[in-house]
Symmetry: D2
Subunit: 359 residues, 4 copies
């Protein structure tokens, strides 16, 4: 398996299965001299944690990260930052029944065909538990680029969506509701929908909107590594994500150029921001914003027909503890992946212009 490394200059490598001993990672390329706030890191993990409210999975993990290297007196030293999160509450017995079957819309089938072997316990490496390492690394990335403010919120659940642009929302209210939607009226509707779905043993998808403020001009590399292309990859690499659009997105494809062009103010800012803060793959200093679609969780508490390894049709029913809707817990993951992309390309930005050899 390749693909457990993300980023180039600020680079994180991760490991770990849902029901293995531990998950962890290594950040290689973090500059020396950053004063780390460990409480903030733990806070991000808590936002992702299972069991934090009644609408998410009740798996009970403390999700405490141990840093093993790269830090002296709370400051990064420039050496790789190794970290580990031990699994505690892994009830692998819940998964014995799926050892020989392929769950619908899970990766059981593809993993087994590709590798000839599969860690069936809790989805193994394909479990969303893997994202915990992204949050650790992402929260360090956030501290590296601390003037940049990354905020995301649940903008729809099923067919219930906020019908306002982010500019009309009070983003300080996101954390007030368990669904992480800043519009309290919509949040209520989302929560009742989830409860209704949950009672049926079903699950539901939704979308998250992410807004990035205070981005300096010049982040992103043109051509193949456009900033929005890296963001798209980062977002689609999150479990269950099916789509990504930034700025005017799919709606922008319906417009004419004369409507869509963002006219300049004399300071280089623009009057509108259909561009979503990125032009030619490079940040232009305006807000970056994008929207991401999540499919409904594949594990449902209903009886489903599926097949076993030999192709026999069998019945299965979801066991274990699962989220009826992953959206609220995905918020810190989306923000972390955004921070990882921005930190990486912020470092590239230092290399664009020539400066004397002595510097």
């Amino acid at each position: 398996m390749a693909g457990n490394i993300f980023g180039n200059l600020f680079r994180v490598t991760t490991f770990g299965e849902s029901h293995g001993n531990a998950l962890g990672g290594i950040i290689d390329g973090c500059p020396a001299g950053i004063e780390l706030n460990f409480e903030e890191i733990q806070n991000e993990l808590n936002r992702r944690r299972p069991g934090q409210s009644s609408i998410v999975t009740q798996r009970n993990e403390p999700d405490k990260v141990n840093f093993l290297s790269g830090i002296l007196d709370n400051k990064t030293t420039g050496t790789p930052i190794g970290f580990v999160i031990y699994n505690k509450d892994h009830q692998s017995d819940d998964y014995r029944h799926i050892q020989n079957i392929y769950r619908p819309s899970h990766s059981d089938f593809t993993y087994e065909k590709k590798y000839g072997i599969r860690d069936y316990r809790g989805g193994g490496r394909s479990s969303a538990r893997e994202t915990i390492c992204r949050v650790v690394a992402g929260s360090i990335a956030k501290q590296l680029i601390k003037d940049i403010k990354i905020t995301s919120y649940v903008s729809s659940v099923g067919n219930i969506s906020i019908n306002k642009p982010y500019q009309d929302l009070d983003l300080s209210k996101i954390e007030e509701s368990p669904i992480r939607c800043p519009d309290s009226y919509t949040a209520e509707k989302m929560i009742s929908l989830i409860r209704k779905i949950q009672k049926k043993g079903d699950t539901i998808g939704g979308t998250i909107t992410c807004v990035v403020k205070n981005v300096p001009v010049g982040i992103g590399e043109p051509v193949f590594n456009k900033l929005h292309a890296e963001l798209a990859k980062a977002m689609l690499s999150i479990n269950a994500v099916k789509g990504f659009e930034y700025g005017s997105g799919f709606f922008g494809s319906e417009l004419t150029g004369s409507k869509h062009n963002d006219l300049f103010n004399s300071d280089g800012s623009t009057k509108t921001n259909f561009s979503g803060g990125i032009l030619g793959g490079i940040s232009n200093g305006m807000d970056i914003y994008f929207r991401i679609a999540f499919k409904p969780v594949a594990t449902i508490m209903q009886k489903q027909k599926t097949i076993d390894k030999k192709g026999n049709l069998v019945f299965m029913e979801g066991k274990g503890r699962h989220d009826p809707c992953v959206l609220p817990r995905a918020i810190p993951i989306v923000e972390s992946m955004t921070a990882l992309v921005l930190a990486d390309y912020w470092m590239y930005r230092k290399l664009s212009k020539y400066s004397s050899i002595r510097n």
Copy 2:
């Protein structure tokens, strides 16, 4: 500038500006022994070529590719394939007027701030002319993975869209219309819309749908390099792309798990394909399909207010030869980027399982 390299094992590096001497690239990692069909490569370039119909730009470039290495007796030798396309019809004078101004929704502003210098002639490196190298490399990638069939078509222009899933279309008809829409009724409507827009000196966006058939199981790497994440990055790296969705996409975010799950047939295929042929980042053997949003071309033939380098407000009007709608010419680019991703991960696939050292 970083970011002129795409792929890892089948890797292409490109260079070239819109109005420089030439564009070109190097493919490193193409296996030895592939019999190349040069006519097919040129055919792909012709599909991307300006001047091929009345609804695209009239820049007249032969776009003939010269291969400089890596090929002996029409077969790849395993060494890097260097290629070059000389620019002929570059009327740089058309661009003198923009040397000191920043065009709205172009990358003039971001390039100049990032690099302190900008090749203003025809957009320089940020011009979509850059994509010609992608088509050369992509058409070789297509020949490497030749059993896989990649087809794409224009699924909407402005608010005119095909209201049928790809399964209900006759994809053999795509090349019959200049807009590359397989549904002749919709194609006609799209073309009239473009002509109307063009008369006003305006431009229009749209979407492209891409369908990949006959994909073997096991392509894609989980976690950060999921197959759809790489496809998303590849698509968003194309000029003017604003969004990407695969399988059920944004619509899937409105569904419940019980509706969205793809149930298996006993042979491992699935009854529905909301998953879009990819599970856990790995191809499952079903069709891969995705949809991409393009914004309207930023260069319009209308007078626009903008700013010069000093922040003065100035008026400008588009000159040069531009597309009112890039969609039909983007088709081979979309297919090429898809082929590059698939070729790269098809090569990774050979490494997943252990096989004896002697093989």
Copy 3:
């Protein structure tokens, strides 16, 4: 800091400081389905371990590796293999006295200038303790390419050297002497030299010869990533290494082509092997052999003049537990780095020739 990742397809990332909590690493890209022999891994660690004989450092570390992921029922699953080795016997107090001084021929000065901060405890990341992770990864690499036999031995200590080519030695005797020299007569002389040096509080350098047998033809990539170029990088990346030569090496530079050319036998093997098993960067099936020079350990138990951070001249004396001669403990490190290079390029080898898309 970059540079904590080694390899491309079989790729290891490491972390950890000499006196931090732990060292560890992640192997990304190990194929699925390899049955691991953990005893062999621990055996390699024991060969590198401090305290194993009277001529090496007496730091007493159990050096027990914990695997955290990527393995199920003793078999690799294809997912990343995370591992950690906790530090136990780290007497950081031994290093207080060097917190503000730069030790001669150590990296204290360069680390501090480069990063502005330095983990002074035991050399921090620059300590040879870092190589423990290389041995873990390398011993897994050895099991991946298990038909290939990698053997190395101490070929000189100071000016005492074995004056025979490796073909005339009984390599099965290497582990019999604490100095890991297969020639018992020379081994004795080396050991007495080390004891003499040690009594004076001094240290001594030497060379290691590595022989790789049973290598299939075709490993290595021409041009920049020649097999011997990667081996050279791998060896020079080991602490204290000052030189590398393969095949005829420096001696070969004195010869004429007519003497140096290796003539073929009819089966493609060669009568002589000045080439050292590699032609054009690619293995030719003959034995690969190379020799590596190690400088004497910089920490000596004698009083030395040096400077502190402010440039004041100060006296210092080595404290802590150090090797008078690192050579015997470097043997498994040399072999591990060799295995990592070979495993990586053995995987590349699967990609050279075209084979049908369905395979």
Copy 4:
């Protein structure tokens, strides 16, 4: 084939065969705003050129480089720099006789086994003609890091060597002799040896010493990417190189720590420089110096026994135009590879310490 890309941040990709249409490359990552001196670039190519004196090959190539992109008004723009050198004087007929045979100590055998196909004309990709692209890229790298002075000279030919350290030589005299040895007495002896060897149709090896002055502190990344490890890889990637040593090198392995340690002056410089300007993989501001061994050219003008593809023993005799001793022409290649490594790690150096997000 992989391995046609060198460097990470200052990255060059090359292509081209000895007798193909052209060779060329792309530099990705060169900062914007460097004023290029094209005469200097051509001068470097001339130093590498065949036919420049009676002791080198008489192939007559103008070796004129054409830059195709990335430069505006003689300044780098930050976009990739594409370049091409067309082959003119390629007398492929000289090589028909080797189409079906494997030349001793050439890569014919390994290329054919690895790729199943081989461009036999002039050695194809394995020809040292490939290094022309390294010189183009390297001479641009030199201009990027222009305060650093890289100088190399022939320090031995066969068993004739300069018996003085580089500090005792007048390096300004290197270009005065066709053998590029700064010591005129030794140079004469080298030249007569080469002429003698040449008359016999034979060839001879030798060593090159490279000295790098004025290097700032802090270049190089510890652990796997130590500066000297990258230099070793770079040097061993040059055709015919068999060994590398830096600083005290192999000789240093015979010393004791008390002799070998470089004591500090109060300004951080050292009294001796056994370390060769690098400590812990990072430059310490002292001169970097290293020595490289080249084997004798494998193509000799004498009758040799060898085998054809079927394993039949056949006789062959060198045809074509070849160097009796590659050393003088290798000088600019050694310097170019050195410059590429230093430029790449000089760029990494900008990333080590934290600096505010706004910078």
